[in-house]
Amino acid sequence: MTRRTHTIRRARRSAAIGLVAAAAMALTACGSGAKTTSSSTAAAGASGSGGFTNGIVTLRGGEPQNPLIPTNTNEVFGARIETNLFAGLVYYDADGETQMDAAESITPNADYTVFTVKLRSGMTFDNGDPVDADSFINAWNFGAYEGNAQLCADFFQPIQGYKEENAPFEADSNYKPKDGDVVTLSGLKKVDDLDFTITMAQATPDWPVHLGYNAYDPLPKSAFVKNTTTPITDAAGNPLMTVDPAYGENPVGNGPYKLKGQGAWQHNVKIDLVPSKTYDGPRKPHNGGLTYEFITELETVYSDLLAGNLDVTDEIPESAFTTFESDLGSRAVNLAGTNFQSFTIPSRLPHFSGQEGQLRRQALSYAIDRATICKTIFNGTRTPAKDFSSPLMAGYSANIPGNEVLSYNPTKAKQLWAQADAISKWSGTFEIAYNGDSSHGQWVEAVLNSINQVLGIKTAPKVYPTFQAMRTDVTDRKIQTAFRTGWQADYPSIYDYLAPLYGTGGGSNDGDYSNTDFDNLLTEGLKQKTADESAVYYNQAQEILMKELPAIPLWVQNIVGGSSTKVSNVKWGWDTVPIAYLIEKPE
């Protein structure tokens, strides 16, 4: 089952993966973005991390769509609050690496099917409940059982027992649970208070990297009450437990921050967080508290930032795209994000298979003037792609051998196209399909224009009324043209940008690309200890993609935001949200 779709997703993780400073320097080549190279990231680095301040930082937020229960939070505004309230097993650090948070270690067995988790000792929730194996096991069991109707249930699919316990729902989605049903994941086993094992449904070498998502946060014992709407007991006679709805209103976590008292969540207005006294993990707050202001209108967000009411925003209204860099100066942020855009040419199309296809793909890629399109169509809020992932991923390289194919070179393009013509003469129109319910028309036209001018072939856009309609034709393999594709990873790893899209049989491999060498390099990469070591293999795998171009990379969407003069050390996570606990603000 594919969990991912091909456009910007709202369901995003709000963990904190920082921007590698080096990557920041390399990636700002796109238009006006280039001026921000030494923006807050670099400036903040100079002011030195480790500075602890007392000011309360106000950040742009929005009313969470659901009560603050981690397994039921699948949208950005709730997630960015929970990342501060809870500490999961791991977190994503400022360099894009996965680091231990509540876990002391997560050790895989030889074939990556069982992971042994050891928790740090002495941790408690803010109400004094211990953070132990049970707080994770209970929370995960609660989230995974579909009878509990949690929006993040699917995140537990990789764990053994998910399929079995939810089989009745699979058979009949209106199934009513009854006594004796299995309501827990058989893959979760408590060893003792601080140790538990996770058995996977199948080998998952990079499982720990997934675990920074809020769905995997622990819950205190006090959060659970007997489920009265579905009052069933399992085979052992234990009643089905659920999370008290009142808990989601005033959640008690184990993270670096806690709510500033009962009712700190003022609906539709703001939420106030203060540093937690019980948290002794690696994410020590650098400030005296956080206030997320819930503002709907982006224009209003921007006015608040200019007036100094807001310290950090991760979005700038389109109306300010041309002025915000002069308004904010070095406090403006315009850096490549994680939303990768491309177009895919299935090799089953005439003229696009074998040697001829490879030449034509390269010619098309050389014929696209990405830099100019980023600058003119997008006002510099896109960064031309240098690889198949995002510059925010740990181990990202802008210098993958062969990536000159992603630069504009009309001469080379004409040459390659002529070579392809020598194999079989081109005829017809080159089309790119897109969905008209979103603003893709402009850039598709621009890309096609660029191709038309360089190669002199006929080009035309093909419009589908809705995203749904286009995806149906794509998944049924009925589409007879090239089509736009986009991707945002579920967790910060280059692997997630490659395997599902270009791996043999990948869930979103819309072009049916298959290359054994590529697959092998990915598998090898998964087995490495650190993200950087893995990336060596992933980038080798990308060298193959640069030649064969199963999709033609275009650009990545930028993080467009800014901060006020009162704050420093503003770093941006892989989820394009500022890492709140690192922000420094003198009182």
Binding site: M1, N74, V269
Partner: protein, 308 residues
Amino acid sequence: MGWYIGRRLLQMIPVFLGATLLVYAMVFLLPGDPIVAMFGERQVNAAVANQLRAQYHLDKPFIIQYLLYLKGVVTGNFGMSYSGRPVSQIVAQAYPVTVKLAVMALCIEAIFGVVLGVIAGLRRGGWFDSTALVLSMLLIAVPTFVMGFVLQTLLGIKLQWLPVTVGGEVSVKSLLMPAFVLAGVSMAYVLRLTRNSVAEVSTADYVRTATAKGLSRHTVVTKHILRNSLIPVVTFLGADLGNLMGGAIVTEGIFNVPGVGNALYQAILKSEGSTVVSLVTILVLVFIIANLVVDLLYAALDPRIRLV
């Protein structure tokens, strides 16, 4: 008079039923599935989705959904929002803010509109009248959001006289700018209306008689001109209170006011039937009561009008 008020209040029952049914139907007809939307662009988990549908009665036919909502209302339960908050809480939080904003706006438009209108009406054709005409045309012509952003930039960001946004600090000071923006267009109408009404009444026979009797200018203006010329203005102001409350969506967005407009906008985006209906129904009731008060004021201003 008592019978009249009682009858008017009784009329509210069919209006309430009609309004709720209509609004509920409109929300029901909104395109898109709110439960599917809750999954963002992730794959929808069918079992989870079905349980949520059952929880919010979305699995039932329209008329049953509506009757269940009505049953809830009668028993004091306005339902739950998709985020698990009781709708009554959302209403209780949003209304006081919007009422404050609307009353402030009403005062601004009444005071400025009437005073300037009277002056313009009494000195018609003069420079004041012409300036007031141009200004009111400007207010009517410039869209609310333009005025909102201009004032926000000027008074809030550049001069820093007033808070840029309201947010959690709902006070007279923070609401001043949004109230002014909200009042803008209506203020221009009140000004025009008062000016024309005063101008018309000023030439009436009884005003000439009053002046001929040797009454002072002051008495003529306050007792004879004003009292008679304000009847259409009062009607307008009364009807406008409802407009101000319901029409604050744009203004509340610009100034981030946590009021009805904001709550309504959010609820419509999520196709939350019970929240939208509850918020709108109260607006309808406010409209009806405001109209009743206007009718009562009529009688007070003009004894010739009998309420039967």
